[in-house]
């Protein structure tokens, strides 16, 4: 099973239409939001493992202090901790994780028989891998961001480590395409997927 690569604007229109149809179902929209928050939380946690373990999950601080620490570790909430580029890319990665998970879940629940054939099966597999890789990428990014300032390695990278976040974005976009491609020819909420 060799997946196609998106080469035309129509391929991206297919992705947009598929995502719009799936996210139009409230429970999948909610799932996407939850998955995006989980992805972002995974990033925040991997970047601050010691601090969170010591003072948020452990230690003896009052609950309001624990929450105060945790909330202020998130991008947007704490603009000092991340550059604008880091914040933008991290939010994009989180959002794409959410959409990927929603599409995978929709595919598995609503198309349980994978009636779309091998393209559909490939979409589920690659979509799941895509979300997984993005989570993995977030972890790699977290490690690199935490090292940013501590190693000469990143000074060799023109974007100071954001390259790995961009890689995650690329993987997520590809997996979205493969998922949508797998749903081609099917129906979502009574609407044909093909644009």
């Amino acid at each position: 099973m060799t997946p196609d690569l998106p080469t035309a604007t129509g391929d991206w229109r297919l992705v947009g239409r598929t995502a719009r149809l799936v996210l139009g179902v409230p429970r999948y929209a909610l799932l996407a939001v939850v998955a995006a928050l989980v992805g972002l939380t995974l990033f925040v946690y991997t970047l601050n493992v010691g601090l969170i373990n010591a003072l948020v999950l452990g230690g003896s601080l009052p609950v309001e202090n624990r929450l105060g620490i945790l909330v202020n570790l998130y991008p947007v909430v704490s603009p000092t901790a991340y550059t604008a580029a880091e914040t933008g890319i991290l939010l994009a990665v989180a959002a794409l994780i959410g959409v990927n998970v929603a599409l995978v879940a929709y595919h598995l629940v609503e198309h349980a028989t994978l009636r779309g054939g091998t393209g559909s099966a490939a979409g589920v597999v690659l979509g799941t891998l895509g979300a997984g890789c993005a989570a993995c990428g977030s972890t790699v990014l977290a490690g690199l961001l935490s090292l940013f300032g501590a190693t000469g390695l990143l000074t060799l990278l023109p974007l100071d480590g954001l390259e790995f976040a961009l890689l995650s974005l690329g993987v997520l976009l590809l997996s979205l395409y493969w998922l949508a491609d797998g749903m081609r020819g099917g129906m979502i909420r009574g609407c044909p997927v093909d644009p």
Binding site: L51, N53, A54, L61, G149, A150, T155
Partner: protein, 216 residues
């Protein structure tokens, strides 16, 4: 050279401590045992590290962009709201690991601190304020010009000492203590409260993270 003279006064043993410091975790070790708090009397400090309830020991690199964000956006509130009222002390330790110009810069910082503490804080602020203008080719020339124009220290003497790495023992001590404390990125701030180690905070975290971590 008061700092070098004090470098031999290494804090008490750290055996058995490392295991509870991994990744900045752990909160049960004492300040006197912690590598980040070694040689405190020899370090540039705001507030009194011996008397303040809370202590922040920051490992920073003047060439580090993240340290610049910490310096310009978080440090002023730490100074104004924790240190100035007398609740906390802030200690600066060098950890030059980012861009190459940070290495001669910290040599100059140590040489400046040994001559005049106020000039040290001014030089530190200058490095962060003008960070993008520095490189390995100009750092010591610009340092000399700044010190000559804005401070009373012997600017030429500082630069001569920086070139000769006269204060390299102090730099190496900071690097060793930072590494022993599991510092792997800059800025990393070791937090102590009531004489107990709380955690390491890495990155340009907001003031609210520090305030909540110290329970204030």
């Amino acid at each position: 050279m008061r700092r070098r003279a004090l470098l031999g006064a290494v804090g008490t043993g750290v055996a058995g401590l490392t295991g509870c410091l991994g990744g900045g975790g752990g909160s049960s070790s004492g300040q006197s045992d912690h590598p980040a708090a070694r040689n405190l009397a020899a370090q540039p400090a705001l507030g009194d590290p011996d008397d303040a309830e809370d202590l922040l020991v920051a490992f920073e690199d003047p060439s580090c962009p993240t340290c610049r964000r910490f310096e310009t956006e978080t440090f002023p509130r730490i100074r104004d709201e924790l240190v100035d009222p007398g609740d906390a002390a802030f200690v600066y330790r060098v950890f030059p690991v980012v861009y190459d110009w940070g290495k001669p810069a910290v040599q100059a910082m140590e040489a400046t601190y040994d001559r005049d503490e106020a000039a040290f804080w001014a030089l530190k602020a200058h490095y962060y304020a003008e960070q993008s203008a520095f490189g390995t080719d100009n750092v010591l020339d610009r340092t000399e010009a700044f010190l000559a124009d804005e401070t009373e220290v012997d600017a030429a003497g500082v630069v001569e000492d920086a070139r000769a790495e006269t204060y390299d023992d102090a730099v190496q001590q900071d690097l060793t203590d930072g590494e022993d404390a599991d510092v792997s990125a800059t800025p990393t701030v070791a937090l102590f409260s009531g004489g107990e180690f709380r955690t390491l905070v890495t990155g340009a975290q907001s003031y609210d993270v520090y305030a909540n971590a110290l329970g204030v």
